[in-house]
Amino acid sequence: MKRRKGRFGAALAVALLLALIPGVAGSHPWIDSYTLETQQRYTEALAALEPVLAQRPVNEFAVMRSGWLLYLAGKYNESLSAYQRALELNPRSLDARLGLTLPLLAQKRWREAAMHAQQVLETAPWNYYAHVRLMVSQEGQGQWEALARHAADVAARYPTDATLYVYLGRAEAKLGNVEKAKAAYRAVLERVPGHYEASDFLATH
């Protein structure tokens, strides 16, 4: 009984704390939305945000989050519209521009995704996510020479990251540079032992 009282008290404390946070007071759309997202109920997670989305002035973060949830729900065009709306609300938002790349890459609109990633890089030249999404675009377009150079260049800035070495390995393999590909995949295995793609390549080459 004492333990139940303790749990209730903790929940009440969280609710009171949330009630004190601006934009959360009076409802729990954010809690509901995050909870539903963890359950992969993306449409419902978006619906939970509707009270916030209906607020005026417009809540920029809610618009951004709607873009994310629409992307997760596979509603790519609506996701694009939401991220575009977020960008209109805050033209300096790198998050919004990076957000645009997600549904575009899902739709295999490589060039358009690359354009937005490059626009982010104009402002933030070593933004990790922009570089990775540009690499996805380069891979989709079969730009292997550019991808190899790009992945090596970014890997020098983020040397602990395995993903960059995966892209480097793929590009070098596609270019027929087997030894370079093997070196890249060995670097992947140092960072992620058991990585399937790296293990498979090294086992077969």
């Binding site: 690359a114 626009q119 027929g176």
Partner: protein
């Protein structure tokens, strides 16, 4: 000049691609020379193709093209110059084409839908001054699935010919249902099957036949790594059945100077010469028949394409 093959086909493809921004453009220059094997009437042929394409991201494309082709006839052929045939020793043809394609990616269905409309204008003239003309309008609707492993399109072409020395004025329609699919899980092998169903509204142009039908199969293999001799892509193709006055939406050409085409085949290989250059070589043979003069022959050709990007 009949018999042995004399074929040289060169094509230079120049491609420009913006590093950033919404517009991507590429252009190509292609030259072809071919030879007619076993023909009593025809000797050889050649063509020059220019193509330019501009893409607005993946959303839309515009195309402009020009093709010059030249066919040399056998001056000693007895039927040559008779009524209903070209009088001169050669025929020159100018083919202009332009097109627009628009893509959409609706979430409800997934994948990419395409709407395309091509238009062609042809003029043909022989050394003796005989001339003919034609225009073609060719819409197409296509769909590529989300994983880009399945493709469908349905094309239509309406061709209207005027002053043809054999058949005068006549119209032809063509339906080209097409399916393409990945033939391996890694997507490196691709198969495309296209039907050519041509209907002639005036059968005098098609030797009494109201329709012809053919199926064209193409196989493309993209190497994961550089293959034999550094080849990155293999292409094989074959056509069975028969077709006349066909419009090929892939290479954007109109088969207006040919007779009835039968079994045909080609093989090609592509190389990447660095980041901005590519080379394509194709050899092919096509069988034709001119029933009016009982002339069965083959057209043999080799194609060389050099492409550049910068």
């Amino acid at each position: 000049m009949t018999g042995a093959m004399l074929v040289l086909c060169t094509a230079v493809s120049l491609q420009t691609q913006a590093a950033q921004g919404p517009w991507y453009s590429r252009g190509s220059v292609e030259g072809l020379l071919g030879n007619y094997s076993g023909s009593a009437e025809r000797d050889d042929w050649g063509a020059l193709r220019l193509l330019w394409q501009a893409d607005y991201l993946e959303r839309a494309s515009v195309f402009v093209g020009y093709e010059y082709s030249h066919i040399s006839f056998n001056p000693e052929f007895l039927g040559h110059g008779q009524h209903g045939r070209w009088s001169g020793n050669s025929v020159n043809q100018n083919l202009f084409n332009a097109g627009y394609a628009h893509n959409a990616t609706p979430d409800a269905v997934g994948g990419r839908f395409g709407l395309r409309l091509d238009g062609y204008v042809l003029t043909s003239e022989d050394e003796a001054g005989d001339s003919s003309s034609a225009w073609v309008i060719a819409p197409q609707v296509s769909w590529l699935n989300q994983s880009q492993s399945l493709y469908f399109d349905l094309g239509y072409a309406y061709s209207s010919y005027a002053d043809d020395p054999s058949a005068g004025d006549f119209d032809v329609s063509q339906l080209t249902p097409t399916v393409g699919f990945a033939a391996s899980d890694d997507g490196h092998n691709w198969v495309q099957l296209r039907g050519y169903f041509v209907h002639s509204f005036e059968t005098v142009a098609t030797i009494g036949r109201s329709s012809t039908s053919a199926v064209e199969a193409k196989f493309t293999r993209n190497s994961r790594e550089d293959g034999w001799l550094g080849i990155q892509r293999w292409r094989l193709g074959a056509l069975v059945g028969s077709r006349m006055f066909a419009v090929d939406p892939d290479i954007r050409t109109v088969y207006s100077l040919t007779d009835e085409q039968g079994t045909s085949a080609f093989a090609g290989a592509d190389w990447s010469l660095g980041e901005s250059l590519n080379l394509m070589v194709t050899v092919g043979t096509e069988s034709y028949s001119n029933a009016a003069i009982s002339d069965d022959y083959r057209s043999n050709y080799v194609s060389l394409v050099l492409g550049a990007t910068w």
